[in-house]
């Protein structure tokens, strides 16, 4: 494998892995804060037990998100030094601000929350979990703003051999960012909602079957209801934000969307392809509703792969309306040098099959999760509790996994669909690679990261399952003897 392929595999593996934990961290911290708020308001112990129960699961997940996140910040410089040098003037600021604003907030206040149960007043303790969850949400704003800039590099000019910032406001109001962020954050709530609903439903069904205490049933049912409703409502908003995000990408990344639909020729009557096994080749394709894509995109013409390729050969990278961003226009001459010096042409179209299928799997699996939430609400309506059977067990195992898979395909679609560019329409991915890092080094780190991440995943899932089986904790007030005792030994 070539050095850039190995580096891309490493980035892909570490990023997808990191993002298994991130959405749960973001949304479950908020839901935990909501539960604790409900406890503060009502004094109902059911909410306190749910807070502690999901708080513990949240922390098991949070640790993994934190440690795999450090890798992300270092990896840009380690594997993609020339990308970092090229974009640092714009891309570095959100990363620095993410650490300064978000990471300090979440880590400090989460530390206060974990250890503060008996040390802080009830109100202050509630504030700490809210500040920690606000920190996680803020971090998503900055990193998505940075990613959206890679998809659509606005507010920049080509100067001093690199991209330089001209308009910070444009970076923060990047249309891709304005839709990608709500799409990502609502998908995070889908993830946490599905997790909470499935875990609580497991507890509910198990408690009922064993004839457990009714207080447990009441608390679990609240968890199922909250989780399932969050899943459904957030799911609807994920769909609603996905549509304008798609429309935006049609304008900013026409070749990504042409590949996402495996649309080979420009058409004023483009159908929706349900499946496609042949990519750019003929056949192997089921088409529905001619003209559907034109309607969905809101455009008279849906651009096709072949036409985009011809267009790139004559005019360079163009947005859907035929214009270019300043950075794309200004870098065009330098980009020609890249192709001349390397002697190979750039194919402006990403891998069609990966883009096509990741796009569909994201949508399909995400929708399946929403249906799962609806089904769970139906099964547990009123005071009904389904009898345990294999089908329900399988469903409860699948429900929290579905959004994770959908999220992963979403990122694979976003990032693979951006190829061959590391900065869309500007810098080819290959040019971003670190020239001074040997293939052996990257192989070594790729293998060790993969093994380490695999081992940690097994440990993490086992711990999660252990605490899910243990179930809701009992809450008995702590009696304190001396000055130091109140500090709970959380570790």
């Amino acid at each position: 494998m070539s050095p850039d392929t190995i580096a891309r595999w490493q980035f892909g593996i570490t990023t997808v892995y990191h993002f298994l934990f991130v959405p749960l961290t973001i949304a479950l911290s908020v839901l935990t804060a909501v539960l604790q708020t409900l406890w503060n308001k009502t004094g109902n112990d059911a909410y306190l037990r749910l807070t502690k129960f999901f708080g513990k699961l949240f922390l098991i997940n949070f640790a993994m998100g934190v440690v795999t996140g450090i890798v992300q910040e270092f990896q840009f410089g380690m594997n993609w030094s020339e990308y970092s040098r090229f974009v640092g003037d714009i891309f570095g600021a959100p990363l620095a601000l993410e650490a300064l604003i978000a990471f300090f907030l979440e880590s400090t206040f989460l530390g206060l929350w974990i250890f503060g149960w008996d040390r802080l007043s009830k109100g202050v303790h509630l504030v700490t979990i809210w500040l920690a969850s606000i920190g996680t949400v803020i971090s998503s704003i900055f990193i998505i703003a940075a990613n959206a800039w890679m998809q659509n590099p606005v507010g920049a000019t080509y100067n001093n051999g690199r991209a330089e910032l001209t308009d910070f406001g444009a970076v923060l109001t990047n249309p891709v960012f304005l839709w990608q962020w709500p799409h990502t954050i609502t998908a995070s709530f889908v993830t946490a909602g599905a997790f909470m609903a499935a875990v609580a439903a497991y507890g509910l069904i198990k408690t009922k079957a064993k004839g457990g205490p009714s207080a447990d049933l009441v608390a679990y049912r609240k968890g199922v209801k909250l989780g399932a409703w969050v899943l459904i409502v957030a799911g609807v908003f994920t769909v609603l934000t996905g549509d304008p995000l798609g429309k935006t990408m049609v304008q900013t990344q026409p070749s990504k969307m042409a590949a996402a639909e495996a649309q080979t020729t420009t058409s004023d009557n483009a159908p929706f392809a349900l499946v496609d096994f042949n990519g750019e080749a003929e056949g192997g394709r089921i088409e529905l509703f001619p003209g559907f894509l034109n309607w969905l995109y809101g455009t008279d013409e849906v651009q096709g792969i072949e036409n985009l390729r011809d267009q790139y050969a004559t005019d360079g990278y163009l947005l859907n309306d035929g214009t270019q961003l300043p950075l794309q226009a200004e870098f065009a001459d330098a980009l020609k040098e890249v192709t001349d010096n390397n002697g190979d042409e750039i194919d402006p179209i990403p891998n069609v099959m990966i883009t096509f299928w990741s796009f569909r799997l994201m949508i399909g699996i995400g929708c399946l999760a929403i249906l799962g939430g609806v089904l769970l609400l139906v099964l547990t309506r009123g005071d009904r509790v389904p009898k345990p059977n294999k089908l329900i067990t399988a469903g409860l195992i699948a429900l929290p996994i579905l959004p994770l898979v959908a999220n992963s395909f979403g990122w694979i679609f976003t990032e693979m669909g951006r190829q061959p560019w590391i900065v869309n329409g500007v810098l080819p991915t290959l040019q971003g690679l670190s020239p001074s890092v040997g293939v052996g080094s990257v192989w070594f780190s790729l293998i060790v990261f993969t093994l380490l991440y695999g081992a940690l995943a097994v440990i993490e899932v086992r711990l999660m399952l252990k605490y899910i089986r243990i179930g809701l904790p009992d809450v008995t007030p702590v009696t304190t003897q001396d000055e130091d005792a109140p500090l709970s030994f959380a570790y």
Binding site: E73, G77, E82, D89, S107, G111, E337, N341, P435
Partner: protein, 380 residues
């Protein structure tokens, strides 16, 4: 306005950095200082964990001294890295790619220790906890050693050479050394110094935060390690400051490096003395001063070359003017930093204030792991 206008005393030989470029070098120094001062003791606590704690309850106590803080401390590193990326992309790009394997080791260490702290208490099984305690120790030792070797190398100057890109008419400076070339005798000394200094800092922190048997043991261990740290510090300060001048370095800053180096030694000597007197707070302040001053000394050598040796790239040097972001980005970042850093400092200090009390094993409830250990003790 250039730096020369502000400080006419300094004769700037290469390019003239702007005020903001100098300010961001100082700010990045502050972030690294904050990181080593705070994470320094929790690296130390991690390294000492399997040695200071003779049974599970004791080790649990030791982990809980840094429990609420270690994650927040680590963010100083992320912020320092992010600030280097944002303010000096050239520095970040050349450094992080040049030191690929060392930074990989730092990452593996940070992953291990982070998970270890969070997961050790999640099972009441003695073997499980012992494994995580070692993971925490190794995960604390590895980044400490590597960063120590790294900073010593920056003082010597990482060799960079120009490299042509496939586009543009300029070259980029890339690391021109090898992985094994990083382990010069001086660099190894620098690595060992970080290990000894942070272990001392950690021991004095544990002494300050506990009472009972762990308190005494931490004081005793600290009183021994501090001597090793003192010898290593003396060697690094003298050897480092006698090192040949890198292109563009300022005499005035070399004087600063000597002074801060001596203050670092004095701080550590004071820590040793105060530890003997049983004054835990002052001993901790001593190691803190020593760490802060050592990092200032290092950074005094990083002007203007940012820890790079440009002798192979004199026409296209990598320094704080060529590595820097545009004035516009630096302005935006400066405004954000001025507004936010005080807020961050305020709530971090508050979190330490909340958990200022000393801990003792007497407060730790029994659990299955401690019971398991007692049974084993009885049977043995």
């Amino acid at each position: 306005m250039t730096f020369q206008h502000v400080l006419p005393l300094l004769d700037v030989p290469l390019h003239s950095p702007t005020v903001l470029q100098v300010l961001w070098l100082i700010l990045i120094a502050v972030l690294w200082i904050g990181f080593f001062f705070l994470e320094g003791f929790d690296f130390g606590v991690g390294m000492l964990l399997p040695f200071l704690g003779k049974n599970d309850k004791e080790r649990r106590l030791i982990v809980n001294t840094i429990g609420p803080h270690w994650d927040g401390n680590e963010v100083w590193l992320l912020t320092a890295g992010g600030a280097m990326f944002a303010a000096f992309p050239g520095w970040y790009a050349t450094l992080f790619s040049g030191l690929y394997l060392p930074l990989f080791l730092v990452l593996v260490g940070l992953i291990l220790r982070g998970v270890a702290f969070e997961y050790r208490g999640k099972n009441d099984d003695l073997a499980w906890r012992k494994r995580w305690d070692w993971a925490a120790a190794i995960g604390s030792f590895l980044p400490t050693l590597v960063l120590g070797v790294g900073f010593a190398n920056f003082l010597i100057g990482l060799k960079v050479a120009p490299h042509e890109l496939a586009f543009g008419d300029t070259t980029v400076p890339l690391f021109a050394g090898t992985f094994w070339g990083l382990f010069s005798p001086f660099a190894l000394l620098g690595g060992l110094l970080f290990v000894a200094l942070f272990a001392t800092h950690g021991a004095f922190f544990i002494a300050l935060k506990t009472h009972g048997v762990i308190h005494e043991r931490a004081e005793a261990w600290g009183s021994k390690i501090v001597l090793a740290a003192l010898v290593l510090l003396l060697a690094v300060v003298i050897w480092g400051n006698l090192h040949k001048e890198l292109p563009g370095q300022l005499d005035a800053l070399r004087v600063v490096a000597w002074i801060t180096g001596v203050v670092a030694i004095a701080g550590l000597a004071c820590a040793w003395f105060m530890n003997k007197k049983g004054r835990d707070g002052w001993a901790f302040i001593g190691t803190a001063i020593s760490i802060v001053m050592l990092i200032v000394m290092y950074f005094a050598h990083f002007y203007p070359g940012l820890g790079f040796d440009n002798s192979l790239a004199l026409d296209t040097p990598l320094d704080l003017t060529t590595a820097s972001s545009s004035p516009k980005t630096l302005q935006i970042m400066t405004i954000c930093a001025c507004c936010l850093v005080p807020v961050v400092l305020a709530y971090q200090v508050w979190s330490y204030w909340i958990y200022r009390k000393r801990l003792s094993t007497a407060n730790i409830p029994d659990d299955a792991a401690s019971a398991q250990e007692e049974r084993q003790g009885v049977s043995a």
